[in-house]
């Protein structure tokens, strides 16, 4: 019948079961092998990236000297930084509003704020495409000096980022002890002083986590950007997309590796700051 347990092993110590360890190994291998291969081949001398021929940094130099690739990467970073700042402010406002007030149709408002998280990216992408084309904003922005000509992409990114920030910040605020606020007012602080000296410091981890989330979401986004970007404004993912359609090249590997490093660093930072895991879609 049932196998005996090992000394010290409880029946629920699944962590010590071999089948689970094997399964973990297999799944992590499948998850990581393609990414590790990609990173490894960014250092490969072989042009077609089929076999390993030797270590080189040539691909990085080539990617670095590829003006359009670098422009796309700079665009992506600039968009991500600006979108993050705006999204964090808007997200924090939303979170404070939902946390502090009771008002009519609050449930409906909450649903409305969650819409950008919920609806398929492609629907949002085509809606923004229509909007920017028909209102002529894209035309307007194309001839503006850099980085203002990235305007429509920034608008789009803020729109899908700030509801995520709101979710993260609000979940932080839920843990706030309202008596601290009352104590502050009792001790003579005004509403505004209380906000800056009590509530904002408490929100800070949530704000940082939310900002990092917005930053990665913006940096990662392909679908919405693909539809919103004009012909002259290309972000890194859109650039990579056009390159990938033409086939695999070590240069893309190099550029991708750089982006992977940026996001991994941002993620690990976020985890270090005890952020909750990335908010669920929907």
């Amino acid at each position: 019948m049932a196998a005996q347990l090992k000394p010290g092993q409880g029946p629920l110590d699944y962590g010590s079961r071999t089948w689970l360890k094997v399964l973990f190994a297999v799944i992590f291998f499948v998850l990581y092998a393609p990414i590790i291969t990609l990173v490894a081949f960014s250092f490969n001398t072989d042009k077609r990236g089929v076999v390993w021929r030797g270590f080189t940094l040539d691909n990085y130099t080539k990617a670095w000297n590829n003006a359009s690739l670098i422009e796309a990467l700079t665009n992506s970073l600039v968009i991500a930084v600006i979108a993050t700042v705006i999204a964090t402010v808007l997200g924090a406002l939303t979170a404070l509003l939902m946390w502090r007030f009771r008002f009519p149709f609050k449930g409906a408002y909450e649903g409305f704020m969650a819409l950008p998280i919920v609806i398929p990216e492609i629907c949002m992408g085509v809606a923004l495409l229509l909007f920017f084309v028909n209102s002529g904003m894209m035309e307007l922005f194309v001839h503006l000096p850099w980085p203002l000509n990235l305007g429509n992409i920034i608008f789009a990114h803020v729109t899908f980022c700030f509801p995520f920030v709101a979710v993260v910040v609000r979940s932080r605020l839920v843990g706030f002890n309202r008596q601290l606020e009352e104590a502050s007012k009792d001790l003579g602080a005004s509403e505004w002083q209380t906000f800056w000296s009590i509530i904002v410091p408490f929100m800070k981890p949530g704000l940082i986590a939310g900002a990092l989330l917005a930053f990665t979401l913006s940096l990662d986004d392909f679908v919405i950007t693909f539809f919103t970007s004009g012909p002259e404004t290309v972000t890194f993912p859109v650039k990579v997309y056009s390159l990938v359609r033409r086939g695999v090249s070590p240069e893309i590997n190099a550029a991708s590796t750089v982006l992977i490093v940026i996001t991994v660093v941002a993620t690990v930072l976020a985890m270090k700051l005890q952020a909750p895991p990335k908010a669920d879609k929907g």
Partner: protein, 290 residues
Amino acid sequence: MENWKQNPRVFWTLGIPPSLWLLAFFIIPLGFLFVMSFSDKAMVDGQVSITGYDYLTGITNYIRAFDSLYLGIMWKSVWISALATALCLLTAYPIAFGICFAQDKWKPLLLLLVVLPFWINLLIRTYALIAVFRTQGYVNKILGVVGLGPYEMLYNNFAVIFGLVYVYMPFMVLPLYATIERLDKSYLEASLDLGGSQFQTFLRVTVPLTMPGIISGIILVFIPCLGSFLTPDLLGGANALMIGNVIERQFKAANDWPFGSALSFLLMYATFGALALRYLFTLRSKGVDV
């Protein structure tokens, strides 16, 4: 929580900027899309105009969406998404379960390992898959060593499903992990103590008690799969089209925006339908009769 009337100045200061933003850059664009979905291309001098539209002409775009061609694509999108979701569940459940029962010091690392790929750009991950799955890729090379292949593993339904599972698995792991972690382990212990085998305990206790997480995970994976564009675009062949690709085609190559708008709204309705199902389920699990 205070009533907004007690402090209307603060209320409006907090509420107006995000609401206006969402109105301007989300609701109005969606409104345009909605209007467009009931419109037709205008005829100018007997020619179909590319930029002009006859607004609000009727529901012809929606009727066209139910052509057998598009119905077929929608049906395929649904079953590919369903299959990918099922595979995600099958792999994610043991992972979430294993992390919950791992030693405390390993949990953060294991969670990080699951979530990390999810933070890496979707496009890069898809590209990485192309690199290992192509004819000269590593998978075929390894198969070649044992005398198999090479197989054409890209540009077909298999590649799309694998890609979707690969990309969306973390969406499944996270809600499952959250519910299993919250589950009082003494229920499992009680079941074992009462004579249930590990398998019976899993089927009769663990699965029913983690159902909310399972449903959340299914919805969280199914919705983005259904609306996916990039994965079928890069990994699928000409015959592995999903609804997202058709929409994209209407807006880019085919230039039939009204039809694309109608398809977008159908996709949104399907999404809301899935969310409504989830909502009904949460009500039921709270004991409300529905």
